[in-house]
Amino acid sequence: MADPITPVLTKRWLSPNSWRLSTYEQLEGYTAVKKALRKPPEQMVALIKDAGLRGRGGAGFPAGVKWSFMPQADKGAAKPHYLVINADEGEPGTCKDIPLMMADPHSLIEGCIIASYAMRAHHCFIYVRGEVLHCIRRLNAAVREAYDAGYLGKDILGSGFDLDIVVHAGAGAYICGEETALLDSLEGRRGQPRLKPPFPAAAGLYAKPTTVNNVETIATVPYIVNGGSDWFREMGTEKSPGPKIFSISGHVEQPGQYEAPLGTTLRELLELAGGMKDGIPLKFWTPGGSSTPMFTADHLDVPLDFEGAAEAGSMLGTTAIMVFNETVSVPWAVMKWTQFYEHESCGKCTPCREGTFWLAQVLERMVAGKGTEEDIDTMLDVCDNILGRSFCALGDGAVSPIESGIKYFRDEFLALCEDNKSKQSEAELVGAKA
């Protein structure tokens, strides 16, 4: 397992014009869809269930199980079904979906056809973060190519199955990556999470049965169809099978996307990425984006799968590995992240809206040397009042950097307050200007 494996998801990325239909077709492309369309849709759902594919958007929900929530009724009298691809990629540090769509858009499109077929959807929407125009253009071009080649549209490959794909430019907010906010945004409303139930499988886009999946989740599907579930399970761990794209950023020699089976450790990944930049030692890192509690050098050997990360007190998230060396101040990094959450909180619920606003101010004050030891306890208590009390998971994510930062590096926070202590004896009411 320690060895870098033969790439699966990224195998075409280095081929010339990898994004072209012709390249894709030369390299096994659109072979899976031909197999899939010959089988009954339920069999596709069963296959993905057997393979144990878990969602790559952050939560790791088993994709096959999600698909099976869609009503089984065939077309005709029943309501239309929708497949929505979450290509908003907003989690700080995450950089895998957009590279995937740039390098190999047809693998996503092929996955969309198979998944839509499995869920009896005839419309698929790809919600791409609005800022990445180049990616939207590439995806649009690929969709056009697929239409022209008969992979999309009416009666695909003579199977009688119809599918239209619409590429939609997102509305530029982190919250629009949350699946129900994404659906509102896709409908043209202000993106804010919806009350559940009803869940999207019952009433999603335009109140019709809908499945939302991440780009990488769906792009993985054609390989499973071609390779089978046993092949897929050869990679990764029992509960987290399959390959995964790790986006490694920060203080490493060669940041970028690295494909490796789930369960790979940071120590192994660092090797792939050429080690720490300039040899400066590792201080802290996130296993799956800023919403996942940070790790330290003590966690170099934690297996990076859903279970391993959770057991070590964090989450696998989007496998966005942000690496920080000893030159970085933890309170400063935590402040920056918290400012992000404050900026991106949608405002719907009290804990996240008000809590991130408060926490950001406390951290800014602390980094400016005007914090107190009491502030640290207050922050932890405010985090406790946000975590699990917010409407959606954004609020939960917002407290991760603070709680984990203080857990591992309380001294750094305290040190920032030391300086202030002497001044405090002179002026009792620090910051009291409310």
């Binding site: 907010a173 919250i175 202000r190 804010q192 009350l195 404050e342 900026h343 991106e344 909180s345 949608c346 405002g347 719907k348 619920c349 009290t350 804990p351 809206r353 008000e354 809590g355 991130t356 606003f357 408060w358 101010q361 406390v362 004050r365 207050t378 208590d381 405010v382 406790d384 009042n385 946000i386 699990g388 009390r389 917010s390 409407f391 009411l429 620090v430 910051g431 009291a432 200007k433 409310a434």
Partner: protein
């Protein structure tokens, strides 16, 4: 875990579940929200966004509780306002769970970090859910020492609603009300995070074209005042009330709205003899917790500077001068006795009386003036209408058709009735029925009005005047509607505009007979239904028996203590006939209640009648077109200063008692009682209580249900052709217009809908009218110029509001269904 003893054998009824809340076992109906279940047990879970009449939002997170399902605790506290009960569920509120209590304290602290501490100057201070709940569930001090988010204050949401954004807790009650209940999304959430705020299209950085009508004017709402009332903080305030008073200085009195026949329960708050504000009362059977803005804001007419507080008589020089009650009553009594002994006197009561006052007029006409010349209808009316009222309306109660039956109906057909303008609470109930219960609402009218749109309704368009033919055509041309009306729970609502369409009441009666559907009449004014019941019409006695029924008269003579055979037996004159008789000298005197000649079928003729008739007695609150011609004016009390009863459109009794005592103002029933004494008759209406008990005792219900309106002219198959260059006029009154009870309320007036002339693009083209410009409709009598708006009206039909601001009837001498000339530009 469950604290419930093992051997509990409580029966769980069908459709119910058993759960445990704070250790107590409860049976709850399926679908009940935990917050309500707890409330039934006496545990109030703090909340902000929750409102029982709005869809759950789960936004504020104030109502968190701990929940266990199947013996397993859920990992996070749950919002009790969004989670429904389930069998075997174990719920721990703040009473039994430290986790829930801490979660609630935490949210409360967070809500307060950005909330200004301006309670001492805030309208809501003293009645503020945030203040109260912060005291009950919050920390005593705040740990927040940094800088609060502030906004420039305040912004106008409309002319009558102001928003202080920094006080807002973003519970979304106001936006959800506007969207879900009223159907007027004129406010919405803007921005995000801590900058999220309530705003309008005008306050948004990004101009939101979706929130504008096609003509570019922002949406308005007739219901915006409700947002002030349901705001759980002092963020939304009323322009009229803002900074005027503190809740603890106010005395509250339950009251009933005097404006329309919806019958809203209100709460009137006053201080030192002055009404400061009115709020919607909570009456689940009628207005639920809502009211329209007219009911909420239009009450200052009673405190108008020109209010008449002393009797007045016309002196030799022709001026009205103040006089003593004795002198004024004497003058009136002498003149009315003389009239009675000569050609007689007629009584126009107006449509705004309480049952008690209307009953006093009835008795005054029958006993004191010995005449059946009495009519409450100060608007277009017809004999056919009277027959319909006698055969289908008088005596009906909510058992026949009620608000609840609208909600239960599978289909409701509105005929010549514009619910949002004419009975806003009926409108809200229709919208609720359509939105929540799937009731199908049909409208026979001229264009897709807001009422059609917001009740998710279907329009059956016809020419103005063509309504009767349209109703007759349902069986053939609207088979789905016909089938829908044949179901047991269908309802037809007819508005008082139907009186302007010959044959319409007959057609509606035929429809009801054929399909078995129930018909209810929804008049515009609050007093009409009661006046009908009180017998303030030329053909009916109190209770609805016909005047021509000798045995009914005999019964009434006994209960009224009259000599047998003294009651006039011939049906009297209706409003128009009385005015004509007065103009021609066939009547010598008129007794006039709250009547505005501009509302009458022919305002010019009415003015002429008032000018020509020998004597006019006016019972009024403020100077009017009637007092201008009156020989004697007797001041009467507005609703705040009297006790009384309205009957709403359902026939539901809506009693209210006096709000402002000791002002010296007298109700009509008392004034008439005293005047009758001067004329040697006793009405027994010296108080509203006396009048009510006399009325209850005396009403005669007759077995004979009056004549069928069907006997009147059948509608022509199609309306007569309009002569060249002319078009047919559709018109009705908008809720907020220049009505006399809306004076001195500039904030309310600011939310009136614009007066526009509506027509189709084809009509405009044919008559040389350009979009966005003004056009003129005219008759021989006059012309009215208004800005043009293109609407889906039938060709060669125009629509104009009846009194916004000018009275169409005054200016043109024409009404709904008339043909008028149309030309582009002003004239």
């Amino acid at each position: 875990m469950t604290i419930a003893p093992e051997n509990t054998e409580t029966e769980v009824p069908e459709g119910h579940v058993k759960l445990v809340v704070d250790g107590e076992e409860v049976i709850a109906p399926e679908g009940e929200l935990l917050i309500r279940t707890a409330e039934r047990l006496g545990t109030v879970i703090p909340r902000f966004c929750d409102h029982p009449l709005l869809d759950p939002a789960g936004a504020c997170r104030q109502c968190l509780v701990e929940v266990e399902m199947n013996g397993r605790p859920m990992p996070k506290p749950q919002a009790s306002c969004t989670m429904t009960v389930a069998d075997g569920m174990v719920v721990k509120t703040q009473k039994s769970s430290r986790v829930a209590e801490k979660a609630q304290e935490g949210v409360m602290e967070l809500l307060l970090i950005n909330h200004p501490l301006d309670c001492p100057i805030c309208d809501k201070g003293g009645e503020c859910p945030l203040q109260n709940q912060a005291m009950a569930h919050g920390r005593s001090t705040s740990r927040f020492v940094d800088t609060k988010r502030t906004f420039p204050k305040p912004i106008s949401i409309s002319t009558q609603v102001l928003l202080d954004r920094e006080r807002c807790v973003l519970c979304q009650r106001c936006t959800r009300f506007s969207d879900q209940i009223a159907g007027d999304p004129f406010i919405d959430l803007l921005e995000r995070g801590v900058h999220q705020q309530i705003g309008t299209a005008e306050t948004a950085d990004i101009h939101n074209s979706a929130s504008h009508t096609s003509s570019g004017t922002p949406f308005q709402s007739y219901f915006s005042g409700n947002t002030i009332q349901i705001c759980p903080v002092g963020a939304l305030t009323s322009a009229a009330y803002r900074f005027r008073s503190r809740p603890f200085d106010l005395v509250s009195s339950p009251s009933v709205c005097e404006h329309c026949s919806s019958g809203c329960a209100l709460r009137t708050d006053f201080r030192r003899g002055k009404v400061m504000r009115r709020l919607a009362g909570d009456d689940p059977d009628v207005n639920e917790e809502w009211s329209c803005d007219k009911g909420r804001f239009a009450f200052r007419y009673a405190a108008a500077k020109d209010r008449i507080r002393k009797p007045m008589v016309r002196d030799e020089s022709g001026e009205l001068v103040e006089a003593s009650w004795t002198e004024a009553l004497r003058r009136a009594a002498d003149a009315l006795v003389a009239a009675r002994e000569s050609n007689g006197a007629g009584v126009l009561t107006g449509g705004r009386l309480t049952v008690e006052d209307a009953y006093a007029y009835t008795k005054f006409a029958r006993i004191t003036l010995r005449s059946n010349d009495i009519d409450f209808r100060a608007r277009p009316h017809s004999a056919e209408e009277l027959d319909f009222l006698a055969s289908s309306v008088v005596g009906t109660t909510p058992e026949h058709v009620s608000y609840a039956s609208l909600e239960k109906a599978s289909a409701v057909l509105c005929v010549a009735f514009e619910p949002e303008d004419e009975s806003p609470i009926v409108f809200l109930r229709l919208r609720k029925a359509a939105r929540d219960k799937g009731t199908k609402v049909f409208h026979i009218g001229q264009w897709t009005t807001s009422s059609v749109r917001k009740t998710f309704g279907e329009l059956l368009a016809c020419e103005p005047g063509g309504e009767a033919a349209a109703v007759d055509g349902i069986a053939e041309h609207a088979k789905d509607l016909d089938a829908a009306l044949s179901s047991d729970d269908a309802v037809v609502l007819v508005g008082d505009r139907a009186a302007e369409v010959p044959g319409l009441f007959g057609a509606v009666t035929r429809l009801a007979e054929r399909t078995g559907t129930r018909v209810a009449w929804v008049p515009r004014r609050a007093g009409e239904r009661g006046a009908l019941e009180a017998g303030a019409v030329p053909t009916l006695l109190p209770g609805g028996a016909p005047v021509s029924d000798a045995s009914a008269r005999a019964t009434l003579e006994t209960s009224w203590g009259l000599d047998s055979g003294t009651m006039p037996a011939e049906p009297g004159r209706d409003t128009a006939a009385m005015l004509a008789a007065a103009a021609s000298g066939e009547l010598d005197a008129l007794v006039v209640g709250g009547v505005d000649p501009d509302d009458l079928p022919d305002p010019a003729a009415a003015r002429e009648a008032l000018a020509n008739v020998g004597f006019v007695l006016s019972l009024e609150m403020r100077p009017s077109a009637v007092t201008e011609h009156a020989d004697v004016v007797l001041p009467i009390a507005p609703v705040d200063e009297k006790t009384g009863t309205f009957l709403d459109w359902e026939g539901r009794v809506r009693p209210f008692s006096i709000t402002l005592e000791g002002t010296g103002a007298l109700p009509d029933c008392r004034v008439l009682d005293t005047l009758a004494v001067e004329m040697d008759a006793d009405l027994f209406t010296q108080t509203a209580q006396a009048a009510w008990s006399d009325f209850s005792r005396s009403r005669v219900v007759s077995a004979h249900q009056g004549s069928n309106p069907d006997q009147h002219s059948r509608p022509a198959a199609s309306t007569p052709d309009t002569p060249d260059g002319t078009v047919r006029l559709a018109t009705w009154r908008q809720l907020i217009d220049n009505g006399s009870l809306q004076v001195e309320e500039p904030h309310l007036a600011g939310t009136a809908r614009d007066a526009v002339l509506r027509m189709s693009a084809a009509t405009a083209e044919r008559h040389g009218v350009t979009r966005g410009e003004r056009a003129t409709i005219s008759t021989e009598r006059g012309a009215l110029t208004l800005p043009v708006e293109f609407t889906d009206l039938p060709d060669d039909v125009v629509w104009a509001p009846a009194r916004s601001p000018e009275s169409i009837r005054s200016v043109l001498g024409a009404g709904h269904g008339a043909s008028v000339a149309l030309s582009g530009g002003a004239r």
